[in-house]
Assembly symmetry: C2
Homo-oligomer: 169 residues x 2
């Protein structure tokens, strides 16, 4: 799939078929995440791959915004690793770039995905940290839920020319 | 260009040919940015398109990390609009997703780009705000410098299996 097509046709997918994400696709998604740019190339990220059904169900039960985990066969929790940071504060942005790469790669592979916000909501960050045994220097940032789409939302056009300013505000 | 190829072969480009970025490509880049996902679909972003040579040179002169503005024919300053935010704090992440879309779209179009960090560095945020007349409720987030590449950095593989954890840390 062309990169522009991928960017323009990607939608959030929240219900998934039961079949699992093949292992080689999973690796491609993680490779895509790690191909993201980062401030001073620090690559301040870590990933928790979640495919245990019980863990995904517990996530859905504990976090109201993570309902798609009920049917998703795969979750990737993108985390910031503060011990790897070179430019203070930029890990939040770097991890978002990695997350967007996962979403686009998933769409390109014929999978669907939804970005579930974690950071900076304290209860989500600390809840996932506790559940998954994540150490203090690592911060849960975003949970991507992934699988074969069981829905096909219509395309949208979010372009808004009023958001564009030229050379000055 | 295939989306996976775009993700894996994108590199930061810091020197550019003198020719301008065609207007239709510029619009495609902005469309790509606005196609990004955002928390509760708030789309809390604004964009300042910069193509005045004097403005780009002033940016390079004032901000040591923005040296590529010396040769870039185009800059897109991605900004967060706090008045549009629906989920507090997520604008930082939403704007990063929009920025990553610009980088990938540029690469897909045969352009090169570099992500210049702005937020959360106070002097960069306030310096650009003052220079470009950006109001208080809008926060300069990232400056993407764009043009036809005058360098072709070798590919890199940032994959690191040690960053992957399974079901628990």
């Amino acid at each position: 799939m062309d990169v522009l097509t991928a960017i323009f046709t990607r939608r959030s997918i929240r219900t998934f078929e039961e079949r699992p994400v093949p292992e080689e696709m999973r690796e491609t998604l993680l490779r895509a995440a790690m191909a993201a740019p980062s401030a001073r190339n620090a690559q301040p990220w870590q990933f928790v791959v979640i495919d245990h059904r019980a863990t995904l169900m517990e996530i859905a039960a504990r976090f109201p915004n993570a309902q798609p985990a009920r049917t998703a066969p795969l979750g990737i929790l993108v985390c910031g690793d503060l011990s790897l940071e070179l430019s203070k504060g930029y890990w939040v942005i770097d991890c978002a770039a990695a997350t967007q790469n996962i979403l686009l790669a998933a769409h390109g592979l014929g999978l669907g995905a939804v970005w579930t916000g974690v950071y900076p909501r304290e209860n989500r960050v600390e809840g996932l940290r506790e559940m998954l045994g994540i150490p203090e220097h690592v911060v849960p940032h975003s949970l991507v839920l992934i699988g074969y789409p069981a829905e096909s939302p219509a395309q949208v056009d979010r372009f808004d020319a009023k958001r564009i300013h030229y050379n000055r505000w």
